[in-house]
């Protein structure tokens, strides 16, 4: 009980959470701008009566019920609130508005709401409960005369974000039950995914030989092992506090950093090879949460 309460207690500098706020904002703004730029706003979020693909929507969604064609209202609300929390002007209120509007867009057109949208909403609610607007924000500039005042905020939201990342990666790993992810399927999953017309950026002809195929087999196995073992990011910093040789070794070498670095490589690799839109950038936007602003370690280190 005491350990549990200690995990969630304490304050820390606000930079990590502020950086997550800014990067999440930039990621969703870029996605919403793309949506408008390629002309997908009306088709994706308008009703069929207005030329879109949403045939029947829910009348109990305020933003949707307010307009005969809800696409522009949903989009405008999300853009305005994302702009506000990205620059850090009324961050908490803006995050709440964005979270509610995004949730309504998900109910309005469920098929278009992808895993990354849900993950970012989870993060948005955590950020809304945090002090992420205390620095690196317009509010801070107006209040203290500087963009980056040295402010301490509760540390628990950042630790909760770390836990969210761990749960996400770990359960994504254990749910990869398709045989092509496994040794019995020759670790061929990435080879097959890169040949999927819907998501690949280019058919990987470079993999149509034993060496190329082996590289992708290695990538498949590494992805699976990395996801299965991602809880290291939580466990290693906790064990590093133990006054044992093992604890001292973990404190000295901080192996969890390798998992974080692999994550960056993994998402940049996805961005380079797969056309998944917001996904890799939305994921990387959450990575500053893995940075303990006291510079001690990543993960759920208590104070």
């Amino acid at each position: 009980m005491k350990t549990w309460l200690r995990w969630w207690s304490g304050d820390e500098p606000a930079q990590s959470l502020a950086l997550v706020r800014v990067l999440v904002g930039l990621a969703v703004l870029s996605d919403l701008a793309t949506m408008a730029w390629v002309g997908a706003l009306g088709p994706a979020w308008s009703l069929t009566t207005s030329g879109g693909i949403v045939d029947a929507t829910r009348k109990d969604l305020p933003l949707v019920a307010m307009a005969s064609d809800p696409a522009l209202l949903l989009w405008g609300t999300m853009v305005a609130s994302a702009l506000a929390f990205t620059v850090g002007w009324g961050s908490r209120a803006a995050l709440v508005v964005f979270g509610l509007a995004s949730a309504q867009s998900a109910l309005h057109y469920p098929m278009g709401d992808r895993a990354i949208d849900m993950l970012l909403r989870n993060a948005i609610w955590i950020l809304a409960a945090s002090g992420c607007g205390a620095t690196l924000s317009l509010s801070a500039r107006l209040r203290s005369g500087t963009w980056m005042p040295a402010v301490e905020v509760p540390a628990w939201p950042r630790r909760l974000l770390v836990l969210q990342l761990v749960v996400m990666y770990f359960t994504a790993g254990v749910q990869k039950f398709g045989l092509l992810w496994m040794p019995m399927g020759d670790f061929a999953a990435l080879y097959v995914i890169l040949h999927d017309w819907g998501v690949t950026r280019a058919i990987p002809t470079w993999a149509h030989n034993p060496v190329g195929f082996f590289v992708l087999q290695l990538g498949t196995a590494s992805t699976l092992i990395w996801q299965w073992t991602y809880p290291v990011v939580l466990v290693a910093p906790a064990l590093a506090r133990q006054p044992t040789p093992w604890g001292r070794w973990l404190a000295r070498w901080r192996p969890e950093r390798a998992w974080v670095a692999l994550g960056v490589v993994f998402h940049l690799g996805i961005a380079a090879t797969l056309d998944l839109g917001l996904f890799p950038w939305g994921m990387l936007a959450l990575y500053p949460a893995l940075w303990d602003p006291r510079g001690q370690a990543t993960g759920l280190r208590g104070t």
């Binding site: 509610l100 098929m111 278009g112 996400m168 398709g178 819907g198």
Partner: protein, 211 residues
């Protein structure tokens, strides 16, 4: 100290809820689902995998095992059903089955336009550098959701997607009288593996509405 206890308790509840949500939610396995070639291929692969370990398993046993696991997960998920309205309002959840199954019979989107005289032209084909009409729009993730899934399951949204594509083309091209949107299945052969079974072409056509 009192606030810390309340906060710790609230966080414990939220984390417990979300951890349960993160458990695999396996869809109910229907006889129709089992008849699909990709399901049959996956069952064959599992059978072969068990065979390599010297364990002989019948397909029906594998199906029962998956159903049993799925039912158990559903029972656990139901514990937090009363919180569903909250999850809906906030849009939160923990379903992370990201590429759980790699699709070795992927579909390729194609758009064909017919002119009044009967001539036709494929104006868009995914990743074809010569057929790029509105390529970025159809590839955008929220649009892709309308066709890059199990089209049998999402037939209605695929029909509406076709209507959007056709309306866009008719507005831009006065000669177009019919637009056909199709998903052409391709087969990815993994080196050393058998070629997956052929998929079926799914296509929907839309004629220019008469004025």
């Amino acid at each position: 100290m009192r606030w810390e206890v309340v906060r710790g308790g609230l966080l414990a509840c939220v984390i417990a809820w979300q951890l349960v949500e993160s458990l695999p939610a396996i869809p109910t396995i229907s006889p129709e689902m089992l008849r699909r070639p990709e399901a049959q291929l996956e069952l064959s692969r599992w059978q072969a995998a068990f065979g390599q370990l010297g364990i002989e398993v019948q397909r029906q046993e594998l199906v029962s095992l998956a159903r049993g696991f799925g039912d158990a997960m559903h029972r656990v998920h139901r514990v937090f059903d009363p919180l569903d309205p909250v999850a809906e309002l906030l849009g939160v959840g923990q379903g992370w089955g990201l590429f759980a199954q790699a699709d070795d019979v992927p579909g390729r989107l194609e758009i064909e336009v017919f002119a009044a005289g009967g001539a036709s032209e494929v104006v868009y084909r995914r990743l074809d550098p010569d057929r790029t009409w509105r390529a970025e729009r159809w590839a955008y993730r929220r649009m892709r959701a309308a066709y890059d899934q199990d089209v049998g399951r999402v037939a209605s949204v695929f029909r509406r997607f076709t209507e959007v594509v056709a309306a866009t083309r008719f507005a831009e091209d006065p000669d177009a009288v019919r637009v056909v949107v199709r998903i052409v299945p391709t087969r990815t052969q993994v080196p050393g593996h058998e070629l997956p079974a052929e998929g079926r072409v799914v296509e929907i056509g839309k004629d220019r509405p008469t004025p």
